[in-house]
Amino acid sequence: MHKPIVEIIVGLFVLAGLSALLFQSFRVGNLNGQAVVDPYTVRAYFDNIGGLKVRAPVTMAGVDIGRISSISLDPSSYRAVVELSVSGEYRNLPIDTSAAINTQGLLGEQYISLEPGGDPTYLKDGDRIKLTQSAIVLENMIGQFLFGNKGE
């Protein structure tokens, strides 16, 4: 009844199932989240973040350098507070770096693009990016366009 071969096959089956679970966790889902190495956090305030989501990429010159770690609303100024976790590899970002919310393609996901300034001092952990450019809301733009034309 309890042949060792059966036990070996069952062991293989269980291991295969568990490794399939691990595969799903790491290769399919992003449990380790392409983790940002040795991150430091900077904050940026936006008037409107459009459809920006947590875990969206942070880029500079098109290169992926971090992730958005949290998005919240500042209750006193009613502006969106976005926390960017930037890879420790890029610690030498000038303090007057500006952040803009851009869209990948016409209908793609939104992400934050950083534009370096020229100040010799660098952003530190917990610093705030002062120059920000809100998301472009397509509907508002169309509205402005129509309204502007009527005015003329």
């Binding site: 009844m1 096959i9 089956f13 269980v14 399919v28 889902g29």
Partner: protein
């Protein structure tokens, strides 16, 4: 009028009685769940019969499901120039819905029906009564290991189903239709969340495994000890567990997502 009332009443009472017996059996099986530790070889034997022997049908089905998803998804997405999201589409459909549900339906047909037939025949040939005569509790010796093996086997099978399906989509999308392989995988990794998608799929498959094994074991144990009774019990297992899986899937999905 009274006839209608009588039939309704009799049906409800019958249903309640069946549900009551099923819950009592479940409690007995859970009380005996230490059989997994005490009689480990029995459990392994059942894991082989229920899990390993269901593996071929799961793998073959998963390959084709993944390939069809790849093909259909590609044809739809290419109209919007979004064929690079194919990996995401395949992985999300599999981990959230198709893996647990199709896996469970195949499991009900292959393993559930076999369980009911086996236990029902044991009852019809009075093997269970014979065990009781020898002071061996059939719930402990026969039912509990089968039930628990079923509960454990389905999540493992579904995990394999998902992975094989994703590779099936990879074969069609990347190797036949020429989507960039890294776009296939990175789109998947960006869109699939571990807790929301993968873990909820695992929870679903646990629930389905529990329900199917419970129904299968109960139907076998509760079957009338005739060849007709066993055949009816086997049919009931497949029908009831398939319907319950589909219904529960809706409930679980609305709770989870």
């Amino acid at each position: 009028m009274t006839a209608v009332l009588r039939i309704t009443g009799a049906l409800s009472l019958g249903l309640m009685a069946v549900l009551g017996r099923a819950v009592i059996l479940l409690m007995h099986m859970l009380r005996h769940s230490h059989v997994v530790v005490k009689r480990f070889p029995l459990f392994v034997q059942q894991l082989y019969a229920i899990g390993v022997l269901t593996l071929p049908i799961i793998i073959v089905a998963a390959i084709f499901v993944g390939m069809v998803l790849g093909l259909q998804g590609y044809n739809t997405l290419v109209d919007y120039g979004a064929e690079s999201s194919l990996g995401l589409l395949v992985a999300l459909s599999l981990t959230r819905e198709l893996g647990p549900v199709l896996g469970a339906l195949l499991f009900a047909g292959r393993a559930g029906a076999a369980l009911t037939a086996e236990i029902g025949l044991m009852k019809a040939t009075e093997q269970l009564a014979g065990m009781e005569m020898m002071a061996v509790d059939p719930i402990y010796r026969i039912l509990a290991p089968r039930f628990l093996a079923g509960v454990l086997a389905l999540p493992l099978l579904v995990a394999l189903f998902n992975v094989v399906g994703i590779y099936g989509g990879h074969v069609v999308g990347v190797e036949m239709l020429g989507i960039n392989a890294s776009a296939y995988w990175s789109g998947m990794q960006q869109g699939v969340d571990f807790y929301n998608d993968v873990l909820n799929g695992v929870v679903k498959s646990f629930v389905f495994g529990f329900v199917i094994s419970w129904i299968a074991v109960f139907q076998g144990y509760d079957a009338s000890p005739t060849s007709e009774g066993v055949s009816r019990a086997t049919t009931m297992t497949v029908v009831a567990s398939s319907l319950l899986v589909l219904g529960l899937d809706f409930v679980l999905t609305s709770l989870m997502f």
